[in-house]
Amino acid sequence: MSNRILSLLSVIALSGSVAAEVAYEFVPNFITPPPGKETIGNGHGEIAVDSAGNIYVSVQEANAGIQVYGKDGKFIKALALPPSLHGFVIRKYGDGEHLYAAVLGEQKVIKCNLDGTVVMTIPTSEFPADKIGKGLKLTNCDVAPNGDIYVVDGYGQSHIFVFGAEGKFKSVFGGPGEPLKLANAHKVFIDRRFEPARVMICDRGHKRMLHTQLDGTFIGEIATEMRNPSSASFHGDLMCVAEIAGNVSVWDKDNKRVADLGTSPKPTNTPGIEPKDWQQGIVTSPHGITFDNDGNILETEWNKWGRVLRWNLKK
């Protein structure tokens, strides 16, 4: 009986993929929560994979802001990091692989080793005072090929701040005014599919994604009329996007939508959907997303109980 249900779910996931070139298969119950817990815990963050394939998920747990899972989805450990790592990435630059995170509740950026040791902090005082507005509300960061760190004030004024690899302020662009006119620029990423790399902005308030050059010069819109793009990840020529109003989408390098996964029948945007109301393979409010090293997709949701979904690349 359960095999039948799994097969049906696979068919549903496949039928949601609109392009012939790429298809995904939903993997039910992939994550095994920490011992003693039925779910992973209050989620309002991000998910990322290191070069070894381990999976990092941020949760709002005091002094245990990141949970680490193996490739098989089994819990390994928690890292003693702040509980408000709203956005983070794992990148290799300089002396190895590090986790760069925007700490929403403490208005700062941290760079950590993968064991959770903080090796650098960009404090509030390093941000230009005239762009802080009523207070920074930092939602994500990423690292450019030259080591520059891009940080977005996504719940604040949607400015994008650029810092050198050592954490010194260099420049700022974006914000609510011309030319980008951003509103709730929820997360920004460095899109290395292009040479030179670009900045990819999830302009969630306007339901669009857009590209700029690394200096902030507008290149163009990637897509509009989305279900509120919240986060993204890249693998090869593909980009996957978490749309918080109830969809996961996959895009090619020509900005063409090639797959939709887990689409909620009706739009949603809340952390309040209880586990009893979760449906296998159907998202609630996608908030963070990543490809793993093999092109499979992992998504984490804005959800008080915490939820991670996985789709495997159908080869």
């Binding site: 709002q60 005091a62 308030g205 009329e225 009706k266 739009p267 809340t270 209880e274």
Partner: protein, 208 residues
């Protein structure tokens, strides 16, 4: 270790605790509570949170968002709410009354909510109403209804993004024959009453 952390927190004058309470955010939509009243009357109360919605920076933006948040579709035209009735506007901090439980903002218990609600009340000319979000609208609208006759039932909701149209919502509408039935029944009653009075009055005259 815990003791040391507590001392550190105290030494910082609670500065560590404050951010811990502040990393949530409020609703990223306008909450539109729809109440269906007798005789095809409709009450629509739309609430904006300028304390927690990242898209609403201050009171002025909240008030602007409530000027034309959603429209009523009537045949092929979209009707402004202000054409249906004048809005009454109130300020308060009571989210629980103006959003369904599963949509209440989370992790913001320590944050004051600063809410503005605009209310429109009108009598529907049709048995069903449909709302629509014009394209290009910045603020999503959570349209939800509570069944007044069954308050324990979970409210029905739909999140409308720019360009979306709601399902048709039935108002408490009396079909024409029912309204005629009422009129006829009233008429018969009046006639019967008149006949009864007239007859009794006549009898009294005869007795006299």
């Amino acid at each position: 270790m815990r003791a040391a952390r507590s001392i550190l927190i105290l030494a910082a004058g609670g500065a560590v605790l404050a951010p811990l309470c502040a990393f949530g955010h409020g609703a990223e939509f306008l909450s539109a509570k729809l109440t269906l009243l007798p005789n095809a009357e409709v009450l629509l109360e739309i609430t904006a949170d300028y304390g927690g919605n990242p898209l609403i920076a201050d009171e002025a933006v909240a008030r602007e968002a409530l000027i034309d948040p959603i429209r009523l579709r009537r045949d092929e035209t979209l009707v402004l709410l202000t054409e249906l009735s004048a809005a009454s506007v109130t300020q308060h901090d009571n989210w629980a009354e103006f959003a369904p439980a599963s949509y209440l903002p989370s992790d913001t218990e320590a944050q004051p909510h600063t809410l503005i609600t605009a209310a429109w009340r009108w009598r529907s000319k049709t048995p069903e109403i449909v709302f629509e979000m014009p394209k290009g609208k910045l603020h999503d609208v959570l349209l939800w209804t509570r069944d007044q006759t069954n308050p324990d039932a979970p409210p029905k909701w739909m999140l409308l993004l720019a360009g979306d149209r709601s399902k048709a919502i039935a108002v408490h509408w009396q079909p024409w024959w029912q309204r005629w039935q009422t009129v006829m029944a009233s008429s018969v009653f009046v006639l019967a009453l008149g006949y009864f009075v007239s007859r009794n009055f006549t009898l009294r005259q005869r007795t006299l």
